[in-house]
Assembly symmetry: C2
């Protein structure tokens, strides 16, 4: 395509509305434009990048034996009532009434619709397994959409759903999807990790998130520096502390700590480390109080706590000061486990702590030399805390690193949650009715483009991995008024087009400086310059956007060289 004929409204200034770099660059490079809050138009270059991701997704899903279909975006409320989500799903589910008064919603996801389709059309184990996917615009009415394509209201997703007759079959399908996702994000040219994710309250199932690694990511990812282990914070298991032979237990001692309530203030006052103190937090779980004991420098992982209590995270929150006083009789800041009448859970780490400080359950007092079992007991001792970079890998014992990531994919073994709710069954090989065993597999397609930019950019603009770049080559005609340069540019342009290379010819009547700036901004992997050195030596310059390396070579050789470079960059993963 010729730049002069394309709609690429680049901007010189960074729009003030854009907080994150992908949002800024997508706007500046003319890839997207906002229509309304969280809703964007994809302009030709933005759409081209999205289509690249879609194509890779499609090829790898098909290779893994999945079939593409397309389900409606407008869904009947009745199906959501059957699954129980009409009430449970928050206001992100955009509900409306059609002209005939029927309750409907805009699909944020399609478990209900696909389960309904399968229960009506598939009846025997002989027709299984089935793995179906679609690539579609979804809508979630986010309360605070932001970050451009990272958290929009309208976005493009690949969502897939599998139906198996047995647990083993469902597990095999899950593994196939895990592999397909690896291939997809590898082929997109992204640095990513598949991390173990929490499965919430659905028992016996498993889940992985695929995270594009980027400093600007919203999520923290735990990665082992030695083995393949990776998990998100909700899931990352803290190793149980090794048993140690206890030191002599000292006598419990009450000490006045006037006005010292926070861990930092108490430990400074007592001249001890936060590792020598146990803090007592109170949570309200389904409106009932529960105490949580934790080493002073550790933090509660809410999802782990919710799982330990068997409640939904939506029904779990820190108690307010008044609630703490009402249930324990102690003001917040001086609470301790001795004599507590509400349920008490302790983090595993307490198992190797001795002679630690705790609250004295009395205003302005703490206790020194407290010991579990001797001075108090707990109902449960388990993994309740956020993992830290001081922890060791739960798989191999190696060192852990905490890094930032952007979730672009999620695979989930659903089990029979939806098939049971919607009574979707098949006849097994004994003629007995069984619920389908399901999995679901999502990829944020438009989000992947944003994540690729978060991971790959510099101060001048985006740096697209070639497989998902909207164009592979940008060819700059630096003197459109010079006949020889223009002829050479056109000749190379035609040659590249014929070789199947996706090339933009910048034929605009603009200064070279502005063409360089736009080429950098758009992040096209290879920039070819036809200018002065062509006039002087018959040479053109190829520049690699990512490395900045340049290569000067005769016009006649440039086409073949670019074909080879593009070909190498598209080589499929091992």
């Amino acid at each position: 395509m010729r730049f002069s004929q394309l709609l690429i409204p680049t901007l010189k200034e960074t729009p003030s509305e854009a907080e994150v770099v992908s949002h800024q660059l997508l706007l500046r490079a003319g890839f997207i434009r906002k229509l309304s809050s969280g809703i964007y138009s994809y302009l030709p270059l933005g759409l081209a990048a999205i289509r690249k991701v879609e194509r890779i997704v499609r090829e790898e899903m098909n290779r893994a034996g999945a079939q593409e279909l397309l389900l409606p975006m407008v869904q009947p409320g009745d199906l959501w009532k059957e699954s129980g989500r009409w009430e449970k799903y928050g206001p992100e589910l955009l509900r409306f009434t059609d002209r005939h008064g029927r309750k409907s919603c805009l699909g944020p996801t399609h478990e209900e619709v696909i389960t309904d389709l399968i229960r009506l059309n598939v009846h025997s184990y002989k027709e299984l397994p089935l793995n179906l996917y679609q690539i579609q615009t979804k809508f979630r009415d986010e309360i605070r959409p932001r970050f451009g394509l990272m958290r929009g209201r309208e976005f493009i997703m690949k969502d897939g759903y599998s139906f198996d007759a047995s647990e083993e079959g469902a597990d095999a399908t899950y593994r196939k999807m895990h592999e397909a996702y690896h291939r997809i994000f590898s082929r997109c040219g992204l640095a990513f990790r598949a991390v173990e994710a929490d499965t919430g309250t659905i028992g016996g199932s498993f889940s992985h998130e695929f995270m594009v690694l980027a400093d600007t990511g919203e999520d923290t990812v735990v990665i082992c520096s030695k083995c393949e282990y990776a998990a998100n914070m909700e899931k990352a298991r803290c190793l149980e502390p090794p048993a140690i032979s206890p030191p002599p237990l000292l006598a419990l001692t009450k000490i006045e700590t006037p006005g010292k309530k926070k861990v930092a203030a108490v430990t400074e006052f007592l001249n001890i480390s936060a590792k020598e103190l146990v803090k007592t937090l109170v949570y309200m779980a389904e409106d009932k109080p529960v105490a949580v004991l934790l080493r002073g420098d550790h933090e509660v992982q809410t999802v782990k706590l919710a799982n330990a209590l068997g409640v939904n995270t939506d029904n779990l929150r820190l108690a307010e000061d008044k609630e703490i006083f009402d249930t324990t009789g102690t003001p917040s800041g001086y609470l301790g486990p001795i004599g507590l009448t509400i349920p008490v859970l302790a983090d595993n780490e307490l198992g190797r702590m001795h002679n630690f400080a705790i609250g004295a359950n009395e205003k302005n007092f703490h206790l020194l030399n407290a010991n579990l079992h001797r001075d108090f007991t707990v109902q449960t001792i388990t993994d309740l805390r956020q993992i830290t970079s001081e922890d060791l890998c739960p798989t191999c014992g190696g060192g852990l690193e905490l890094t930032r990531g952007i979730e672009v994919g999620h695979i989930f073994k659903l089990g029979t949650k939806y098939s049971e709710a919607l009574k979707a069954t098949f006849l097994d090989n004994q003629g007995a009715e069984q619920p389908f065993i399901m999995g679901c597999y999502g990829i944020g397609v438009s989000r992947t483009v944003a994540a690729a930019i978060e991971q790959n950019h510099d101060k001048d603009g985006m740096i697209f991995p070639l497989p998902i770049a909207p164009f592979q080559v940008i060819l700059l005609n630096l003197s459109p008024k010079d006949e020889a340069i223009s002829a050479a540019s056109s000749q190379l342009y035609d040659q590249l087009n014929k070789s199947g290379i996706e090339v933009i010819l910048d034929d605009r009547d603009e200064r070279p400086g502005s063409k360089f700036k736009d080429a950098d901004l758009l992040g096209i992997p290879y920039r070819v310059m036809v200018g002065k050195s062509f006039s002087e030596k018959g040479e053109v310059e190829i520049k690699d956007r990512a490395t900045g390396t340049t290569l000067n070579l005769p016009l006649a050789e440039a086409g073949a060289k670019l074909v080879a470079l593009v070909h190498d960059a598209l080589a499929p993963p091992q």
Copy 2:
């Protein structure tokens, strides 16, 4: 793909809900399933056919210099208020309020959104022309959705919009789109005609509908048997009747016609032909009465009448008997033009009629030998009637044929309707602000698949034109338990896949009869049978679904033959 692994839920019975053949066959062949009224899931084969159409559309739009983008489906109400359509568009526009109370709608079309995008991002004539399109799921809340994919509420459309700096530019863009549409429907393998369409109240503009010809079509199309002329009924111009030298004018004679009100009854009673009678109809145009004179056997064309009156068809209707009596003092059935005080329009045909019968404006009486100009005058004499197969081509004078069609595409020169309403302007080469001159170009993508089936089917099922068939070849392994036959089937299947042929291998453990039935139902262009004659003579049979012709040849030659057949069928149009 293997049939056994695909979701193709074929049905033996025709579902009672389906009235038209495309709807029946799409359901029976497992191409679509209804989710709710007018909303369908596209199963793998249905989606595959749609994707074929999409691909042809995309290739031809790109070839014509259009650029693909993707606009949001959820649109802000404010933009529609700016264009005036928030109020004017009926309840087909699905309106809703989001969680923040903002009025929004589901996009049935995108004139507002694209005009807004362009006014914000394009400012100079140097950036024009621009031609942008998208392929997208649209929603129109039809009151009575029916006929499956023919008139759904949710459907897939290609909609394109062009922006030009001059009328000549806009006309050239229009012609390019006309050509692109010709190529698109030719490449789809469909019999179609581009017909002139009415442009309604937007003056100075033009419009063509692309009609797939099918006996079951909802629309009537007028086609010249000699030249290229084709038009829809609204647009088809009736030639002005040739001037004739008038016969002697006879004396006006009143005659009793007791109880004779309808044309048929009056002419039978008077023993004259309907061609010798002028009927007087009363319409309410924006609630004001107006009389229309027409030869007895002719019918009013409402759009022509609305255009002659300068009103919208929505504001034009036949008057009720009471309204006729109230405004003329004459009971319905005996009305005539003499002495009428309301405006009177006459169809051109009256120009050559003499000594005709009319109503006497008195119950139970008519007049014989009435004559225009002598006995009464009219305000306007123009083309107001439905064309008939007795009319002649307005371009070449050849014979006309009335045939049925299904509208699958529509191109329209919009002019400045939307750019003026939304104040979308650019600076011309004199530095003056000008509204963009727009065109819009739609293709019903999912509807094209339905239209293809309406045009191409027989009692056994669909007959897909190869370019839009979900698969090109269906390979029947007639004895999955026979090792030699299965090996030969697999070998040919692999060979075809490697040659890029889209092939389904029917590997199911089913009787041959049921495989034949399904192959016919699915309408795959070439059916290959590996069965008894392979065992006996090493031969397979290739059958052409459309012609029924069969060809027996050795297994080793079948692959190359199929490649050649598919290649020929995909040859691009001249």
